[in-house]
């Protein structure tokens, strides 16, 4: 139970952002969980590693909120997998998330921008 709490905390930290990233990667078509993780990883230049323990709870949460829907299909390598697809509701959410995220980035940038580069050896 205590371990579960740790996991849950990590999800909450990432929650808003991870949801947005997942919805963003689903914008170009249906994809399974593994594919979504790989997609985020490669687009972020291997910086963002989405943990399985965060990914699936997030996907099920999105599905519960009807932002994505899922169906079982075969992959190119004939592996049966659950494919997720963004819904109209999900697209609206993505637009809203995107706006909020941009506002946030702008705000943080304007706070962080004027930092003078510390001199070497100072």
């Amino acid at each position: 139970m205590t371990k579960a709490d740790i996991y849950r905390n990590r999800i909450e930290l990432l929650q808003g952002t991870l949801d947005m990233l997942i919805l963003q990667s689903l914008r170009w078509g249906t994809m399974h969980g593994y594919g979504i993780a790989q997609d985020i990883r490669s687009r972020s230049g291997e910086v963002l590693q989405v943990e399985t323990g965060s990914l699936y709870p997030a996907l099920h949460r999105l599905e519960h909120q009807k932002w994505v829907k899922s169906e079982w299909k075969l992959t190119e390598s004939n592996q049966r997998a659950k494919f997720y697809q963004i819904t109209a509701l999900g697209k609206q959410q993505l637009v809203a998330d995107h706006d909020r995220w941009q506002t946030m980035v702008r705000a943080i940038t304007s706070v962080m921008a004027p930092i003078p580069t510390p001199k070497e050896g100072a």
Partner: protein
């Protein structure tokens, strides 16, 4: 166990999804050139704890609480199956307790609380007569008013949107199979509209149908839905059929909607007819007080406003009446009160009326209180059991808590067991209530006032809610409390010691109030049962003054032949002759009415003594009987002679007095040969010779004194169209067969009522006492058993727990007797406070049941002593086995065990 298939399917799908993830990760790594085994290990490492991921993901579905509940339930089921003894005892206890509560409440609800199944029952008011005498008002207002009162009120009122006059008007229906009475209600025309009732088939009648003589084809008749379904096979072509009521005709115009039967709880008329079917001297008379009058309030009118308008109308009309109606009330002891002042009142009529209400409200409330106490005892018993169980499992609970289980989780797990047991108990209890309710309804309808009433014993919605509520209460009282205490422990200390001894003090504290409470409640229930038992015993041993078995009464309806009274005498005589010679019949006579039936004929009588003193009895009971009546009834002839066939119309008027009547009219003299005058006005009969005196008999009921009675010869009195055959026979069936066959052969148009035996009459007259006595006896045994078992369990447990201590004591020289005393003393500490609680409760209960008692004082010493002895005997019985067990401890073995 598969609680929810779709849940399990989703679970396995999630597993597949995660598997697929791993497979793809492995495949990717292999494609990237890794060794298959390394790839697998790396992928699994990257994934982490798959089970935990599945858990966390599932929690996103919002089903965690549900999943836990299922786990808890599974665990509880396993625990219950492991201890079948406990499970069966607990379920049985609850079945009885919840079942009894539901059955009694159902009856109480049906008789006292249920709304009439009409539109907006809260708008219905009932008009009643409140009688006031010199000593204030007399009990409950009368439900009945006269047809004339209805007419007057209906003409002048402006506050009601409709009025309904309702009376029972038994009709005889003549069919190919013979003539038989059929339960019928006579309704004023506006009744159905006022109550908001609809037709299931055809139409209902209205004011246009309610006129003297009826329509061209006869009176409009509406069938009761149940009658139509069960007796007429729900035949839709029934409309238009003509019914033969001998001198009147009826035509079926419709069938009433299902659900509604009568404004009187328990009545089930088969037919509804317009009120004008009754002759005008009944329908519009001010003396025939036989009508229930309901009305529907206009919007924004209150019952008080109705009363403010109605009572003045009523008073004004009363003043204009030529013959003032006298209002006289007899109570169950035969005491008579004359009322001078009568008021019309408007009371809420939501629940309709019931003659059962007056008679059974107190018994039912008493029984309801007893079963509620019984449920409390059951809860206390189960709480003790659950507490002991939890105590035995302390170690297990401690381990779970040490492993991280939260307190709430432990409590919910322990409560789950109770929940399951309670639900099982409640389900079985409903079955019990259904069966018990039928029995109860049967017992209530045995009462003389419930003639033909059929109480609906079906369990309705509010009753189910009630049983769910008491089940919840049971779980709360018997489950959550002990679970809360059980979860209140220090795991470390518990695991370290691992000894049963460590819980002893807390356990004692729990039992310190539970068992005395049970003992106290048991004493109350036993006490009430003892009071009621001795009441019934005393009622049974009352000598009513007549034979109590072997006599059957059958009422015949000769009213169709009313106008040819001369031929009736010969018909009656040939019927008596025929019945008297039938096999099995010893003797037969005719009487106007029988004892305890509620029917009373009263006349005033005066006697002028030789000294010139005039003795006047205002309202003396009067009964016309045929010869041989006294012999058949076993009433001793004290002096003079019985009536003979010669005492008929035209012969000199004669009468026979009961002993108390003889003493009243002719104190200290021989009554035989003297004369009395009876009646007044046109009906006055003077100079009636007393030809004999007979023993006193009770007439109204078993309580009270024998009333004064004047018997007159049946064949000399004015023709009575509804006499009863009084048959003495070896068995009832022979008597009934004899009367039926004689009437069928000689007078097929005469209809016969259901026969009543004399013992039925006596039993019915004490129906409510018997009901309370039987049920309180049942619940006394139940609570006493539960208490004794509970006490036995606790003491037994304590004997086991104190084994070591007892071993030490015995090793140090304590005798076996001393050890027995040790355990008995522990028992005594539970019994004494229990008796104190019980004595206080019994004192209160005695005051409440007072009115049902007969020749038993509420605090009758013998009853008090008896209840105490019974209780102490049960307690002693519960102590004996544990005490023996403790005394049989072998010191060496007990000490070696440690």
């Amino acid at each position: 166990m598969n609680f929810l298939p779709s849940f399990d399917r989703r679970k396995s799908e999630l597993q597949q999804e995660l598997d697929a993830h791993i497979q793809m990760a492995i495949a990717d790594r292999i494609a990237g050139g890794e060794d298959p085994q390394e790839a697998r290990a790396a992928a699994l490492r990257e994934m982490g704890n798959a089970l935990l991921i599945a858990d966390v993901t599932r929690s996103q579905w919002g089903w965690t609480a549900f999943e836990r509940l299922i786990q808890d339930l599974r665990y509880a089921v396993r625990q219950l199956i492991k201890t079948p003894g406990y499970t069966v005892t607990a379920i049985l206890t609850l079945t009885l307790a919840i079942g009894a509560n539901t059955a009694i409440f159902n009856m109480l609800y049906g008789i006292m609380l249920r709304s009439l199944p009409v539109e907006h029952p809260e708008q219905i008011v009932q008009l009643k007569l409140e009688m006031k005498g010199p000593s204030g008002s007399a009990g409950d207002p009368s439900d009945y008013v006269s047809g004339k009162t209805y007419d007057v009120l209906q003409q002048h009122q402006t506050v009601l949107s409709g009025m309904c006059g309702w009376s029972n008007w038994p009709l005889n229906i003549h069919e190919a199979s013979g003539t038989h009475p059929i339960p019928t209600a006579a309704l004023t025309g506006d009744c159905f509209r006022t109550l908001g009732l609809h037709a299931a088939l055809g139409r209902l009648f209205d004011e246009r149908d309610d006129k003297h003589g009826g329509g061209s084809e006869g009176y409009a008749v509406v069938l009761g839905y149940n009658y139509w379904r069960t007796q007429l096979g729900a035949d839709p072509a029934i409309l238009g059929r003509i019914l033969d009521f001998q001198d009147k005709k009826g035509i079926i115009v419709g069938v009433l909607q299902p659900g509604f039967e009568s404004v009187t709880v328990g009545d089930r008329p088969s037919l509804y007819v317009p009120s004008e079917i009754a002759p005008p001297e009944d329908r519009h008379a001010s003396g025939a007080v036989n009508r229930i009058v309901l009305g529907r309030l206009k919007p924004h009118v209150t019952p008080a406003q109705v009363q403010a308008q109605f009572d003045p109308i009523f008073q004004a009309w009363q003043k204009t009446e030529e013959h003032k109606t006298q209002f006289i009330v007899f109570d169950e002891n035969g005491k008579r009160t004359n009322f001078s002042e009568v008021h019309l009142i408007a009371a809420p009529g939501r629940t309709g009326t019931s003659y059962l209400r007056e008679q059974f409200s107190r018994p039912l409330y008493i029984i309801e209180a007893l079963v509620a106490l019984c449920l409390l005892v059951a809860c206390a018993y189960l709480a003790t059991l659950a507490g002991t169980r939890a105590l035995v499992r302390r170690r297990e609970i401690a381990v779970r808590m040490a492993l991280g289980a939260s307190r709430m989780r432990i409590i919910s797990q322990l409560t789950c067991e109770n929940l399951l047991v309670s639900i099982a108990g409640a389900a079985l209890g409903l079955v019990f209530a259904w069966a018990g309710g039928r029995l109860l309804a049967y017992m209530i309808t045995l009462s003389p006032w419930a003639n033909g009433a059929a109480l609906n014993a079906a369990l309705g919605g509010p009753v189910l809610l009630f049983s769910i509520a008491i089940t919840g209460l049971t779980v709360l009282l018997s489950g959550i409390g002990p679970a809360w205490r059980a979860s209140h422990l220090d795991p470390i200390c518990e695991i370290k010691e691992g000894d049963l001894l460590s819980g002893s003090r807390r356990h004692r504290r729990l039992s310190a109030w539970l068992v005395p409470l049970q003992i106290g409640i048991s004493l109350i229930v036993v006490f009430v049962a003892a009071l009621m038992g001795s009441t019934v015993y005393r009622l049974l041993s009352v000598n009513p003054g007549f034979r109590t078995s072997g006599v059957t009464f059958v009422r015949a309806d000769f009213s169709q032949r009313e106008h040819a009274s001369h031929s009736q005498v010969s018909l009656s005589r040939s019927l008596l002759e025929r019945i008297g010679h039938a096999p099995g019949v010893q003797n037969v006579s005719i009487a106007q009415a029988h004892q305890f039936s509620g029917a009373m004929y009263m006349r005033s009588a005066t006697a002028t003594l030789p000294s010139g003193e005039v003795r006047k009895g205002d309202m003396v009971l009067n009964l016309t009987v045929a010869p041989a009546y006294f012999d058949i009834m076993g009433i001793p002839l004290l002096a003079g002679r019985d009536f003979t066939p010669g005492d008929k119309e035209g012969a000199p008027d004669v009468c026979i007095l009961s002993r108390s009547a003889a003493q009243f009219f002719f104190p200290g003299q021989n009554a035989v040969g003297q004369f009395i005058d009876m009646g007044m006005g046109r009906k006055k009969q003077s100079h009636i010779q007393v030809i004999g005196t007979v023993g006193d008999t009770l007439y109204i009921g078993l309580r009270g004194n024998a009333p004064q009675l004047i018997y007159q010869p049946y064949f000399a009195a004015p023709w009575n169209p509804m006499p009863e055959f009084v048959v003495r026979s070896s068995d009832t069936a022979a008597a009934i067969a004899a009367v039926r066959s004689a009437v069928r052969d000689l007078a097929p148009d005469v209809s016969l009522d259901e026969p009543v035996t004399i013992s039925q009459g006596i039993q019915a007259s004490m129906a409510s006492e018997r009901l309370v006595a039987l049920l309180s006896g049942f619940f006394a045994v139940l609570t006493l058993t539960l208490t004794a078992i509970g006490m036995y369990g606790l003491l037994n447990y304590s004997a086991v727990r104190r084994r070591k201590e007892i071993g030490v004591r015995m090793a140090l020289g304590a005798s076996r007797r001393g050890v027995v005393h040790l355990i008995l003393r522990e028992g005594l500490w539970m019994v004494v406070p229990g008796l104190v609680i019980g004595a206080a409760g019994s004192w209160g209960a005695a005051r409440y049941v007072d009115s049902l008692l007969y020749e038993v004082k509420p605090l009758e010493p013998s009853v008090c002593v008896l209840s105490l002895v019974v209780l102490c005997a049960a307690a002693l019985l519960a102590c004996m086995a544990p005490a023996r067990r403790a005394a049989s401890v072998q010191p060496m073995e007990a000490l070696r065990l440690e």
